[in-house]
Amino acid sequence: MNQHEILLKLENIEKRFPGVVALKSISLEVRAGEVQVLLGENGAGKSTLMKILAGEHPPTDGTIVVGGRKVPALTPTLATELGIGLVHQELSLIPALSVTENIFLGRMPRNAFGKINWSKAHADARHALEALGVFIDPAAEVRTLEVAEQQLVEITRVLERGPRILLLDEPTSALSDGERSRLFDVIRLLKQRGHGIIYISHHLSEIPLIADRVTVLRDGIVVKTLPADQADEETVIGLMVGRRLEEQFPKEKVELGTPVLVVENLASGTTLKDLSFTLRRGEILGVYGLMGAGQAEIASALFGLQAVNAGSVEVEGKRANFRHSSDAIAAGLGLISRDRRQSLVPMQPVGPNLSLSWLAGKSLLSRLDLTREREEGSRYISDLRIRPASTTHKLFFFSGGNQQKVILARWMSSGARILIFDEPTRGIDVGAKAEVFAVMSRLVSEGASILMISSELNELIGMADRALVMRGGRLSAELPRKEISQQNLLRYAS
């Protein structure tokens, strides 16, 4: 087998969405028998690129060459035919079906009468799983499995279609160390068999373990492709961020004040079981956890959006029992939620989106303060450099980063003193991220406090004064600033 055979080649791939250019010009190639690690911050374009390769989105421009065949765009069927298999970041399994049914979805082995041959199906599934060194009962319903097991079922399913090119989108984000090394064994096996693999990861420490080449994306372009032995962490971060770390994270030294938010034994929803912490004035308190560790429910529980099952919350020394978000807002809280779409009214311009929180707790019969809305709208547009600098454009037409700035402005104008930033930089570009961080620094230096829930290790390392690490719905470690590192965050989280 020719180890240098080019399986996949992308030339000047461009992808535009309304108001956003997700990919500007992507050119790369994947060779047989290599693992190419694709790096880039959130919003750099990795997931869009994966979706184009899986045929879920057509590119706006550029060509794709797969196995010598040139196509302008892929469809999911064509991608499968041409031997491209994608393991999604979000699991795409059907929870109520068995492992076997998920693996052979739509292609269950049948006998001559068209009846499903269950014993053969289960045996085939078991065989496929064992080929990856995985032992899972093929008859088990997928919803009864651990997340990591589900991940392995997903990979098995994709491999069953016999792809030459395998795309893995953050496959280890939910895996433990042991499971991860098992996955890496599988990947090495596939590599030897001549598969070409694109592997997306956030964990730079995985590069020496698995990569042959590393390609770094930033703002929709390929910044550089380099051999794995040249891709040390510092070089790679520099390429990903496009600036030095101090510039990306403008962290200021702020004197910490009295506790403003005291949470004790908080339990809420299905994943948050027991969390206690104290947030002080002027502090940025980071919270990290893997998927399902409970950190995703903190914001809703604190903000009165979801019922609190147990525990107590004190705001500025007063017992708080928020039943509605307006109570939380009245107490001086603000929420930048993980999904911007949950915060914006897209068909309204900046002003009304800004002043939305002013209505909290007010009578519906009261008059709007349109003068203040106009003034603060223009002020924040110039202050936070919101682009387009327009008070009449609907927010729908703004980029993710600029939408995020409008939400920041909302809470700045409502005078919130305790801000919950839930994944504050998800889906925004690097430049806008730096601006969001600058605003965070400014807010705490003006006496606000920030609870920063994030799955971005670099962000936490760059911005947090202290970091809480969660595991299984509980606190597993509390790290002071100098101990916040990739290794520590990951170790206590898994």
Binding site: A328, S343, L364, R367, L368, P388
Partner: protein, 349 residues
């Protein structure tokens, strides 16, 4: 830096696109008005008596009822809801008011005598508000879809109106008083040559516009319809907004119903049947997004006028009433197709 160099042309393109979308937005927003003017211009040429004072007054008087209901319906649709019970509320409020105006009030066997006419009207309006508030309460308290809740209350309110009137027209032939002259003037009379009912419709629209533009309620209505989750997490009470919106819709339905009593010089429990659909059509023709968050009351007034002028014009052109219905149906569908296309082209930058 490389990244910045990449950025610049982008923002420029964005600004140019902005001017273009602005121009587009103005043209699109004026769309219903342009359609109305074209329709009227055509009828002015095609018929001899469309553009006469009497005929136009007649159209205005006939459209006023739907226009007033449509103002309330606009509020509801802006929140992402729909109110199928408006015509039933109008009939209920009209029936109660008419009964109180023409018959002595008898409750639990006690005769209270005649209620003063203004009080009768106020009670009718109050019934409208209460009926609307019930709609809003059902929807927000029990989390049932707006469509289903108001479909249910539509039937129930009609039933209540039948109970109140005993299934007979009011005033009845053989008993009680006649309706007051003032009410008949409001329904069919003129002030400075303009039908009073049309003036009231414009007044309702102006009030509705004010509420939507200048009050917290108006902003909450747009927020709830534009993004419920965002409204909720910004501290806006969805249920209060919903209840007030439906109460306003009920109030306007009651106003329309009482005016209709004056115009017809009669009320009955089954009056205005099907008008809820015409009010929804007016709102949609007027450019309000059926899924909420976008639009306004003036569009709905124009929508009601388009429906009124279309019906009148087809009459004058001697088109059979059966064909008129087909034509009206086609207009509604065409407008919605146009609206969808407009939205798509607005979101494509």
């Amino acid at each position: 830096m490389h990244m910045r160099a990449e950025k610049k042309p982008d923002t420029k393109a964005g600004a140019a696109g902005g001017r273009k979308t602005k121009l587009k937005a103005i043209v699109f927003q004026a769309g219903p008005l342009i359609a109305l003017v074209l329709l009227m211009a055509y009828l002015a040429f095609a018929t001899s008596n469309f553009l006469t004072f009497d005929n136009l007054s007649n159209v205005a008087r006939q459209s006023a009822f739907v226009a007033i209901i449509a103002v309330g319906q606009t509020f509801v649709i802006l929140t992402g809801g729909i109110d199928l019970s408006v015509a039933a509320i109008a009939a209920l409020a009209a029936s109660i008011t008419a009964v109180l105006l023409t018959q002595p009030l008898v409750l639990f066997g006690v005769d209270f005598g005649f209620v003063p006419p203004p009080v009768a009207v106020l009670i009718g309006l109050f019934i409208g508000v209460a009926a609307g508030a019930i709609n809003g309460w059902l929807i927000s308290k029990f989390k049932i879809p707006d469509f289903i809740a108001t479909l249910g209350t539509m039937t129930a309110f009609r039933g209540a109106a039948l109970l109140v009137t005993d299934g007979l027209p009011v005033p009845s032939f053989n008993a009680g008083r006649q309706l007051p002259e003032t009410l008949i003037w409001v329904g069919g009379g003129q002030l400075f040559g303009v039908p009073v009912s049309a003036l009231i419709a414009l007044l309702c629209a102006a009030a509705g516009w004010y509420v939507l533009r200048y009050t917290a309620l108006g902003r909450a209505i747009y927020a709830v319809g534009g993004n419920r989750a965002a409204a909720h997490s910004s501290g806006i009470s969805i249920s209060r907004t919903k209840i007030m919106t439906y109460a306003i819709s009920g109030l306007l339905a009651a106003i329309a119903g009482i005016i209709l009593v004056g115009r017809l010089n009669s009320a009955n429990a089954l009056m205005a049947e099907g008008e809820e659909l015409r009010s929804i059509a007016s709102v949609v023709i007027g450019g309000t997004n059926l899924f909420g968050g976008e639009g306004g009351v003036w569009g709905s007034i124009i929508g009601a006028a388009i429906i009124g002028v279309l019906g009148n014009g087809l009459n004058l052109l001697d088109v059979s009433p059966f064909w008129q219905r087909i034509a009206q149906g086609i207009v509604i569908v065409v407008v919605v197709i146009f609206d969808q296309w407009r939205r798509r082209s607005m979101t494509r930058v």
